[in-house]
């Protein structure tokens, strides 16, 4: 199959369908609306269900039920809606249910606006809801990568029995790019012997639960989850490197900001400046191992974000004081301009510090 032009939000939908997702529960919010529009048409074609819930709170709990029943299921929203889902996401993590949650991040806090932002990084990577847990967080930077990562999202969710969040923004959702959907794959969805589907002569009952009333048992459960997160953190760090070979300054940026930074790296190359980019694809687990290695050779780092500085904390933790870590950000729905980032890079390389 050749390449076709697709909008980012629609690519999320098609990617999900091709990954075997047959259930979508959601509540409308800008700027992700094309995704529910697409799935409302597409799900019935593949024998799936698109159901519009009464709220994001209901959506995420419908996801809880469907995931517990063993289905590949997803929801999507943006900032305020994702905030409403946090209790449910915590329950999903506690009950170890696989599902995919899409957050097309918008300007905040509060109602903010509907323009692209990356200000939900902390919420996504630190857990977001109550209790000690992590989501696996993936951040695509192109429409093609959206399609590819949707497959990975569902696979990772099932592999680790953990909710996965795909983080984008209005730019990625709205942009049209050529994508190769590839041949429809025969899916290998793992059997879910833990799913509560009715006992059907099963010897033991299956229970979907996050309640451990006895503190000793709840500690055991938390330690077990912690071991799982360790395993994910060591095995699933993903990133892309661009012009990092011999780079003295390394930009760190993901998603839309990384697209800008790629252009900056090209500008720098043209000017003979040794500047590279590391683009985290997994925001959690953060690709800290590679950044730590690069801190041996690079002279400084610059975290470029559409926030007041959130991921920069992870960059600093990874660099661990070995080299200076700088930050450049635009917020409130503003996107960093390549020229401005370039100027910042020049300033840092010339020994400037803020």
């Amino acid at each position: 199959m050749g390449k076709m032009l697709m909008k980012g939000n629609e690519a999320i939908g098609e990617g999900a369908v091709r990954a075997g997702c047959r259930y979508f529960f959601g509540y409308p919010i800008t700027p992700q609306s094309e995704l529910p529009h697409y799935l409302a048409k597409r799900m019935p074609e593949v024998g799936g269900l698109y159901l519009q819930a009464e709220s994001e709170v209901a959506s995420i709990n419908m996801v809880f039920g469907a995931a517990g029943a063993g289905a590949r299921v997803m929801t999507s929203s943006s900032g305020p809606g994702i905030s409403l889902m946090q209790e449910g996401i915590s329950y999903l993590a506690g009950a170890e249910l696989p599902c995919v949650i899409v957050n097309m991040v918008r300007g905040g806090p509060g109602l903010g606006n509907i323009a692209p932002a990356q200000s939900d990084y902390f919420q996504a990577t630190r857990g977001g809801g109550h209790g000690d847990y992590h989501l696996i967080v993936l951040a695509p930077a192109s429409v093609q990568e959206i399609v590819d990562l949707m497959q990975d999202s569902f696979d990772l969710a099932d592999k680790y029995r953990n909710p996965v969040m795909l983080m984008g923004d209005g730019v990625l959702g709205q942009m049209m790019e050529p994508v190769d959907l590839g041949e429809e794959k025969i899916l290998s969805i793992p059997e879910k012997s833990w799913a509560a589907t009715g006992r059907m002569k099963r010897e033991k009952k299956n229970l979907i639960n996050s309640l451990y009333i006895v503190p000793e048992n709840c500690e055991v459960h938390n330690i077990k989850l912690g071991e799982k997160y360790k395993l994910i953190a060591s095995g699933e760090q993903r990133w892309e490197e661009y012009r990092t070979e011999g780079a003295e300054l390394i930009m760190v940026a993901y998603g839309t900001a990384a697209r800008v930074c790629k252009a900056v790296a090209d500008l720098c190359k043209a000017e003979g400046m040794p500047v590279g980019l590391i683009r985290p694809i997994t925001l959690w687990p953060f690709p800290g191992r590679r950044i730590s290695e690069l801190a041996e050779t690079a002279k400084s780092f610059l975290s470029v974000e559409m926030s007041m500085g959130q991921m920069v904390d992870d960059v600093r933790l990874s660099v661990n004081g070995k080299k200076p870590v700088h930050f450049y950000g635009r917020v409130g729905g503003m996107i960093p301009a390549a020229r401005d980032v370039f100027n910042e890079v020049q300033f840092i390389l010339s020994g400037g510090a803020r």
């Binding site: 259930y23 529960f25 269900l49 159901l51 819930a53 009464e54 709220s55 709170v57 209901a58 959506s59 709990n61 419908m62 996801v63 809880f64 039920g65 469907a66 995931a67 517990g68 029943a69 063993g70 289905a71 299921v73 209790e87 449910g88 329950y91 009950a95 509560a196 589907t197 009715g198 006992r199 059907m200 002569k201 009952k205 299956n206 229970l207 979907i208 639960n209 996050s210 309640l211």
Partner: protein, 248 residues
């Protein structure tokens, strides 16, 4: 000798954690008996709430889910849409269903979701220490209405069965009571009918059960049942608010 009365098979043989005289135990038994009689244990799925009956997932021996506070109808929606052949029921108290979960119960009913809701109305928040519930009666003293519920401050009690029965998606809505043996028998019939309506695919079904809370009402178990009869039933009349002309 023939057993006239013994524990239903769908109910695990373990002691309940409920207070003495709390009628949760009777309702649990009725639901389990209905599951046994309809022979649906293998495809029954329970959704437990947050509240006193949170551990009902331990007692019902079928597969089960524990939902976040008020969201059992959303969880049940997800389950039933994935497993249309299953027999799904939520078990919820008045705080769970009539306060924090109001949106979820109304919209599940409006969509005509094909599961059954067992709604325990005991006019109080019991697990958290006897606070006012949306169903607390006017004048009723609770730990957060120490001078009695005042409609000027707290509004009036919510009649969920009446509210839900006007929705087209609701196929069977009934209010029953635990206050004496005859009404316990009627409650069982209502619960059975609600399950049958679900299994016939006719729509949403709910049985509201007027239930006692001797501990937080400050009454003996026997007097608490009298209180249901004398105080609750006049405000919450019993009967079927909506029922299909026949269960197909």
């Amino acid at each position: 000798m023939k057993k006239i009365f013994s524990r239903p098979e769908s109910l695990k043989d373990m002691p309940f954690h409920y207070c003495p005289g709390c009628t949760h135990g009777i309702v649990h038994r009725l639901v389990a008996e209905v599951i046994d009689e309809l022979d649906v244990f293998d495809r029954a799925i329970a959704v437990a709430p947050v509240g006193c009956s949170v551990f009902c997932y331990e007692y019902f021996d079928c597969d089960a889910y524990q939902a976040s506070h008020g969201r059992a109808p959303a969880v049940a929606t997800g389950i039933k849409r994935v497993l249309p052949g299953s027999v799904v029921f939520t078990y919820q108290g008045d705080g769970d269903l009539a306060a924090i979960g109001t949106a979820e119960i109304i919209h599940a009913a409006a969509r005509g979701e094909k599961f059954t809701v067992i709604f325990i109305n005991n006019a109080i928040y019991a697990m958290t220490g006897g606070q006012m519930a949306p169903t607390t009666l006017l004048g009723q003293k609770t730990t957060t209405t120490p001078f009695g519920r005042d409609s000027e401050i707290n509004g009036s009690p919510v009649k969920m069965s009446e509210m839900l029965s006007v929705l087209d998606g609701a196929a069977y809505i009934s209010r029953v009571s635990m206050h004496n043996p005859a009404n316990v028998a009627k409650a069982k019939k209502a619960i059975k009918k609600a399950f049958e309506v679900q299994m016939a695919g006719q729509g949403f079904s709910m049985v509201e059960v007027l239930s006692s809370c001797p501990t937080n009402w400050g009454l003996s178990p026997v007097k608490a049942l009298k209180w249901i009869e004398e105080k609750m039933i006049p405000y919450y009349p019993l009967g079927e608010f909506k029922a299909p002309s026949e269960v197909v």
